[in-house]
Symmetry: C5
Subunit: 107 residues, 5 copies
């Protein structure tokens, strides 16, 4: 496991299902991607049919990165990340082992 | 559980009662919502009859998001989030299971 | 317990004695208060007779809030928070139960 | 163990293999290095053959440092840090002991 | 224990030896000190004979404070903090008890 990263492009939402991953995700940073667009880019997270919620808003040449602190664990519900604006946003963080409450064949 | 988000609009305070929630809330980010207003927006938190306290102050086109680090656990008192300014503020974070000190019917 | 907030005004230092509180304080944010002053405001913390140390420096219309990460536990020494500048600073965080090393009558 | 620091220069990628280190790395800050270049510098992290992901983007005279929160533990995969732009980026953090699940000869 | 603070002035490096302290240091913030200098100030940390590494870079009237996240524990190596630039930098954080693996005479 270890380092985790995902580039989310405008108009291309990315689903994230914690249960399908190798471990618990700590999502800790968002950084503006390459490009020439000067408008702001916003990354959103949505759950089911609910209205998307903004995670952070990045401004070219002013504030191009922002710390986050979100966790997505084994039994958590699936979400979708999407970007509005001209440029992609890079999400980074790290994966750690799920809590093994039933370590059957922990080798 | 997992991802948690709430949009707080100016003039529409949102009560938050930790006991009524599914888990312990880690409130970790505030981001300025959509709109054209250029003045700053401030999100406040108040407890009972006490004067509201500012959680953070967001400036359009300058600083549109800010990390927070607040926790609201099972036995904690109810609070109210409110926004002053032109634009809404999106709060995000994550829920984790309450500590089960008496796991009677933990299924 | 739960949410904790304190507004510190210029010229009105606020003592804080961890032992007199209901729990361990996690001080996690500072936000500039209301007002028209355009100069910077600095929040300081002092211990006993020692020279005050700056916790953070907030700039109106530029950087009006800043994450902090300080802890004040049961046996920690008393401190004093003070502000220099034109405007007050709002401190926020959360209280959690002190470690009970001797849970005599934990009901 | 304790403090950990690494300067990454443009065009000189730095591999990092968690298994070869003395402890688990908490990578917690990036700061722009010395120099006269005024363009932005971006630090990236790549794993295997995958496309590099941006960790943060630093702007001379505007935002020259940024908190990070990444962890690289014993069994995590090797990564490579690289910088694009005019100036180097200093990475800092701290090492703590790996979890010893089999403390055979813990002296 | 509790609150910890240190002002580091330009040209006056400050050694820090974790073993000589009362507890484990969590170094969590850097704030620009008083003065009229308008150039940036950088705080560095060095270990032994190694080249100093930048911890953060503060800009008067733009970004005067920055969160840090460094830990200095019992067995960690001594370091030296130094500042380059016109103004001092105030470091703050908190001390917590060292892990007592052998609590012989814990009173």
């Amino acid at each position: 496991m270890g380092f985790w990263g995902l580039e989310v492009k405008p108009g291309k939402p990315q689903p994230y299902s914690p249960q399908n991953e190798q471990g618990k995700l700590h999502l800790t940073q968002a950084t503006l991607g390459a490009g020439l667009g000067n408008g702001k880019s916003v990354i959103q997270c949505s759950v089911g049919d609910k209205k998307p919620i903004y995670l952070c808003s990045l401004l070219p040449n002013k504030n191009e990165c922002c710390p986050l602190n979100l966790e997505f664990d084994d039994g958590d519900e699936p979400v979708e990340f999407s970007v509005t604006g001209d440029r992609s946003i890079h999400l980074t963080g790290y994966l750690e082992a799920f809590d093994e409450e039933y370590d059957e064949d922990d080798d």
